[in-house]
C-alpha cells in the first residue's frame, strides 16, 4: 500500500518496530499539519472576498455569511480548523513533554516546535482581529498595550504591530499582511524544517 510507505518515510529511518503504531505519537503533529492545509485552502478562498478596511471587512463578512454560496461553510471551516489546529498543537506539545522528546539530540526541533506554536497563536489572533468589530478592536488594543509593556523595545514592537500609536485601518492592514502572508510563509518554512529534523534526529517518542 503506497500510503503505508508514505507513513514509513516520514518517520526516522530506524525506529523500534512498535513505535510505528499510532499510539506512540497519536499523530498530533500530522493532525495539526492536515488542519494547516485546510486553513491554507479555505484561507485562499476567503481572500478572494475579504477587504482589509473597516467598511470592506464588514461588507465581506456579511456577504460571506449570508449571500455567497457556501460562504458560511468556508468561513466556518477556516474558523474551526484554526481552533482545532491550536488544540492539536497544544496536545502535541504535552505529548512531547510527557515523552521527554525535548532532550538531546532533539532539542533544536523542540525549539522549532515552540516557534511554530507561537506563530500559530499569532495567526489565530491576527485572524480574529480581521473581523474588525468592536470585540476584536478591543482585543487588538489590549494586545498592543501588552506589547508596549515589553522592556526596552516595547514601544518599537507596538509601532511595528500597528504602524502608528493608535489602532487604525493601517493597523488592520498589518494584521491582514501577517495573517495572509508573513505568518503562513513562516509557518510553512518552519514546518518543512521541523519534519526534516524529525527524520534526521531519530528516536521517535522513545522515552515513554
Amino acid at each position: 500500500m503506497k500510503f503505508d510507505k508514505f507513513i514509513e518515510h516520514i518517520h526516522p529511518t530506524k525506529i523500534p518496530a512498535d513505535r510505528i503504531h499510532i499510539s506512540s505519537t497519536f499523530c498530533l503533529g500530522g493532525a495539526a499539519f492536515f488542519l494547516f492545509l485546510i486553513l491554507g485552502v479555505t484561507g485562499l478562498l476567503l481572500a478572494v472576498y475579504y477587504l482589509p478596511s473597516a467598511e470592506g471587512s464588514r461588507a465581506a463578512l456579511h456577504d460571506l455569511t449570508y449571500v455567497i454560496p457556501f460562504g458560511w461553510l468556508i468561513r466556518s471551516l477556516h474558523f474551526w480548523a484554526g481552533q482545532l489546529m491550536l488544540v492539536a498543537l497544544l496536545l502535541h506539545t504535552i505529548r512531547v513533554v510527557a515523552t521527554r522528546a525535548y532532550l538531546p539530540p532533539r532539542q533544536v526541533n523542540w525549539l522549532i516546535g515552540l516557534a511554530l506554536l507561537l506563530t500559530t497563536v499569532g495567526l489565530d489572533f491576527s485572524g480574529y482581529v480581521l473581523r474588525w468589530d468592536s470585540q476584536t478592536f478591543w482585543a487588538a488594543q489590549v494586545m498592543s498595550h501588552l506589547l508596549g509593556l515589553v522592556p526596552l523595545c516595547g514601544r518599537e514592537l507596538q509601532q511595528i504591530l500597528l504602524g502608528g500609536p493608535q489602532i487604525t485601518e493601517s493597523g488592520l492592514l498589518r494584521f491582514y499582511a501577517f495573517h495572509c502572508l508573513f505568518g503562513p510563509v513562516l509557518c510553512l518554512g518552519l514546518i518543512m524544517y521541523h519534519f526534516w529534523r524529525v527524520r534526521r534526529d531519530g528516536k521517535l517518542s522513545q522515552s515513554l
Binding site: 514509513e8 530506524k14 525506529i15 523500534p16 518496530a17 510505528i20 485552502v41 478562498l45 478572494v48 461588507a59 456579511h62 456577504d63 449570508y66 449571500v67 455567497i68 454560496p69 457556501f70 460562504g71 461553510l73 468556508i74
Partner: protein
C-alpha cells in the same frame, strides 16, 4: 545473539510479515469504499469551492411594468405589478422594486403597517424602500416612472429613482 536482538528491535515491519496478495476480501472492500468516499468528498468540496468563487447568483433584472392611466390610482393606493409596487400619496407617485438586496426574494407590502417585509429572512423596509431591519444590508431600490405614448404610467426598474422623489404626471 545480541546483534540479532538489536536488529529485531530496530526493524520496520518486514515485507514477509504481510499476507500474500489474494483477491480483495472484506478489508479490501472497506478500504476501497473509504477511498471512494474520500474522493467523493473531495469532488464535493471542489464543486462547492467553484460555486463559492463564482459568487452570488446573478439576479434577473425585473421587467418594466405598465400600470395604466395615472387616474386609476387614487391617493393612498398600492398596486402590485410584476416585481414593482406602485404607491401614491398627496405629493405624487413612487415605485418600489421588490427584489430583496439580501438574496433576491420578493418582499411583500404589509398594507396595515405600510412596510415591506421579506418572507425569506425577515428583512423590513419602509414604504419608500429604506432599510428598517436586516439581514439585508441596504434598502430596496426605487424604479423610475414615466408616461408612455398612450399616457400610461410605466415603471422602469433599470432606471432607479432617488428616495423621496415623487412623480407627478
Amino acid at each position: 545473539m545480541q546483534e540479532a536482538n538489536l536488529l529485531n528491535n530496530y526493524m520496520l515491519p518486514s515485507k514477509e510479515s504481510k499476507p500474500a496478495k489474494s483477491r480483495p476480501g472484506r478489508r479490501g472492500f472497506i478500504l476501497s469504499l473509504g477511498w471512494a468516499l474520500l474522493g467523493l468528498a473531495f469532488a464535493g468540496m471542489t464543486w462547492m469551492s467553484g460555486r463559492f468563487l463564482a459568487g452570488s447568483q446573478p439576479r434577473s433584472d425585473p421587467e418594466p411594468v405598465n400600470f395604466g392611466p395615472p387616474d386609476g390610482h387614487p391617493i393612498g393606493s398600492m398596486t402590485r405589478g410584476g416585481r414593482v409596487v406602485l404607491l401614491r400619496d398627496d405629493a405624487g407617485f413612487w415605485a418600489v422594486t421588490t427584489v430583496c438586496p439580501h438574496l433576491g426574494c420578493q418582499p411583500v407590502f404589509a398594507e396595515n403597517r405600510r412596510i415591506f417585509v421579506c418572507p425569506c429572512h425577515g428583512s423590513h423596509f419602509d414604504q419608500e424602500g429604506r432599510l428598517l431591519a436586516g439581514p439585508a444590508a441596504s434598502g430596496l431600490s426605487l424604479a423610475g416612472l414615466r408616461l408612455d405614448a398612450q399616457g400610461s404610467l410605466v415603471a422602469h426598474p433599470q432606471e432607479p429613482a432617488r428616495a423621496g422623489d415623487r412623480f407627478k404626471p
